[in-house]
């Protein structure tokens, strides 16, 4: 226990707080740009030429990646000292890296918005080591180098903490995931002239992140929160974690093949990709079973009911978004028609929200009351507001997903299916989908309302929570 904040086991865990706060600010930005794009789908020249669609999209996706990275780092700074049972190796380095990363992130986003993309490339001397111009990896080379430096410092910091402290399965899995994240990011510097080869290795960053190492990070964050809020034996949790990781790696790594269908890679990938990625729902299903059985067999009634809700919610939403919606179009004969349609967008939205946005919010929900000195949980009113935020965001995202799925199906029928030349071109198809896109925009506003509820739930000042301490569940 430390004196400054009696609710933290180690004082250095406090460095997680700025990471979480900044992550949520970026999340708000991401949602705002999502709404701008949603409007541009139906009013094509909205905000043109100030923010063209392609720039809004770039900002929307880049903000997502960066805020999740901030969330993962904050989670690691909070979780690793507690698991290792010692203070963080260097809290000062963690704070320094926070400012470096935040400044680089903000400058990059401003660069996207204020300078034409080609100008940004010239300004940052992309020609010295060309890495720009690829979806999700649009960052100027200098930003990419900055990310590498931040990651190295971060890994050094938590690695040293782990080496000197207790090594638990949860923290080792987290570390493995984070090292994997850093290693696979290095492929973003490999930019071969051949477009097929470029795409091939591009997926090593994109796919092996979200369907590989990020699942390890998610698994360990989930395990950490579940140990804390349910009081279930660590041994049981660790076994579940092993199963989840094994399944995630078997299906995820070979499942990369489902991205190699139509990019000029050999035909064998049609088989490998279809078969192995068909099982990618399994690790997510295991996570659902894990979370629900832990909560059911809990040894204590944790006062933070919002965190429990997030922990259960993230597994279910991830199972549907990543698992079921991914499976919908992962088989090669299906993907032949659905590739790059609104179905992909539907899957992307529910998967990213369910798996990664929600797991970060799960950890924030658990850790934030402690980081803010409120105790184990925020007061009842704040929690009610947070639960409202949970349902508004989750249900809005489900609506967005269903509407985009419907749009995708219609799009396939109008634009892809007909073989007699009657198929519509892309823009005419999009015109036909207007109604669905309007409804999607309304759902997006609902999501923003949910996010605002969630953010408002942090308004409670640092007064002690008026709650009885955790009590043991009578058996």
């Amino acid at each position: 226990m430390n004196v400054a904040n009696p609710h933290l086991k180690f004082a250095s865990q406090a460095v997680a707080k700025p990471y979480f706060v900044f992550a949520l600010i970026l999340f708000l930005g991401q949602v705002l740009f999502g709404l701008i794009m949603g409007l541009q789908y139906v009013i094509g020249d909205f905000l043109f030429p100030a923010i063209p669609f392609n720039v809004a999209r770039m900002v929307h996706t880049n903000l997502l990646i960066v805020w999740l990275l901030f969330g993962f780092m904050g989670a690691a700074y909070y979780l690793v000292p507690e698991e290792a049972d010692r203070e963080l190796h260097s809290p000062r380095l963690a704070i320094l890296l926070f400012w470096v990363f935040a400044a680089a992130g903000v400058l990059t986003i401003l660069g996207y918005l204020l300078v034409p993309y080609a100008g940004l490339a010239r300004l940052t001397h992309n020609e010295l080591l060309p890495t720009m111009g690829r979806e999700f990896l649009e960052q100027p080379t200098i930003t990419k180098l900055g990310i590498v430096v931040v990651c190295l410092g971060f890994l050094y910091n938590i690695g040293m903490t782990l080496l000197k402290g207790r090594k638990t399965t949860v923290s080792m899995v987290m570390m493995t995931g984070l090292i994997g994240l850093a290693v696979f990011f290095l492929f973003s510097f490999y930019n071969p002239g051949n477009l097929a080869r470029d795409k091939f290795y591009w997926w090593w960053v994109v796919h092996l992140w979200v369907e590989g190492v990020w699942e390890l990070i998610m698994g360990s964050m989930l395990a950490f929160v579940l140990i804390k809020i349910t009081g279930v034996d660590r041994e049981v949790v660790e076994k579940w974690l092993y199963v989840i990781i094994a399944m995630a790696l078997i299906t995820g790594i070979i499942g990369t093949g489902h991205h190699f269908f139509w990019i000029g890679a050999p035909e064998v990938w049609l088989w490998v990709g279809s078969i192995f990625s068909a099982l990618e729902p399994l690790p997510f299903l295991a996570m659902v079973m894990f979370a629900f059985s832990m909560v059911k067999n809990r040894r204590r009634q944790h006062p933070n009911r919002a965190a429990t809700l997030w922990a259960k919610g993230t597994t279910v939403t991830a199972f549907f978004g990543a698992g079921v919606w991914g499976f919908l179009h992962t088989l090669a004969p299906v993907n032949y028609y659905t590739h790059g349609t609104q179905l992909t967008a539907a899957h992307g939205h529910l998967a990213f929200y369910g798996a990664y946005a929600m797991i970060v919010m799960t950890l924030i929900s658990y850790a934030m009351p402690r980081l803010r000195g409120l105790g184990e949980a925020a007061d009842e009113r704040s929690q009610t507001l947070e639960v409202w935020g949970f349902w508004l965001m989750t249900l809005s995202m489900v609506m967005i997903t269903l509407l985009l799925t419907a749009a995708g199906v219609v799009q396939v029928l109008l634009q892809r299916w007909a073989e007699d030349g009657s198929a519509l071109p892309f823009m005419s198809t999009t015109d036909q989908l207007r109604g669905l896109f309007w409804a999607r925009l309304v759902s997006g506003v609902g999501f923003l309302a949910g996010l605002l509820c969630y953010l408002l739930s942090f308004r409670q000042r640092g007064r002690a929570a008026l709650r009885a301490p955790a009590r043991v569940v009578p058996s």
Binding site: K239, Y242, V243, A246, E267, V268, W271, I275, F276, L282
Partner: protein, 192 residues
């Protein structure tokens, strides 16, 4: 009486986590096997002519090698439950030796096929042949690694009925590899 050394009735040997993992593996192989069967039904001619290029005479030897290694591993488990850890280690070494016959035969077959230009890109049959048997081959290698690790563990530590859950799990993994092979072999080499 050996009955007292048998596991308690209605209890899973090994670890529940290993069983869940085995279930996941069996699902992967089920999909692979079904994909093979369905494609064979769609292209019977191609499959018949391509299969004729495979040499099934070594099939029996490969099957026996895997199954005998399975027997030796199961016997090793019996020894562990009788507190005879060292004997178990020796039996596992024997299992490894027997299993390496399979590895040698399979590598020979792969070299022969590659020499004849029948690689993974040759046609649909060979694409599936290489994915299916190659994936299984990797599992055999992993299984052998696990058996080797169990052997050294049994040699250095004295395991007994109460401390052999990890040992049982490792042996179970090997049996899973056997289980998949007995269905895979007739499908790929014989049927149709």
């Amino acid at each position: 009486m050996s009955t007292s050394l048998e596991p308690m009735p209605r209890q899973l040997p090994g670890d529940l986590a290993m069983w869940l993992f085995i279930l996941a593996e069996l699902s992967v192989f089920a999909i692979l096997i079904l994909a093979f069967a369905v494609t064979r039904q769609l292209k019977p001619q191609l499959f018949a002519t391509s299969r004729a290029l495979l040499d099934s005479s070594t099939g029996l030897a490969m099957t026996l090698s895997l199954l005998s290694a399975g027997l030796l591993a199961a016997l090793a488990q019996v020894q562990v439950r009788k507190h005879r850890s060292r004997r178990a280690a020796v039996l596992l070494l024997a299992a490894l030796l027997v299993a390496s016959v399979y590895v040698a035969l399979k590598l020979g077959e792969y070299r022969h096929l590659l020499g004849a230009g029948l690689g993974i890109e040759h046609n649909t049959f060979f694409t599936l042949y290489w994915i299916l048997t190659g994936f299984h081959f990797l599992h055999v290698l992993l299984g052998m690694l696990i058996l080797a690790w169990l052997a050294q563990m049994a040699w250095r530590r004295s395991l007994g009925p109460g401390t052999c859950s990890g040992f049982e799990s490792g042996v179970l993994y090997w049996h899973m590899v056997d289980l998949v092979w007995v269905l895979l072999f007739p499908l790929v080499y014989l049927l149709g």
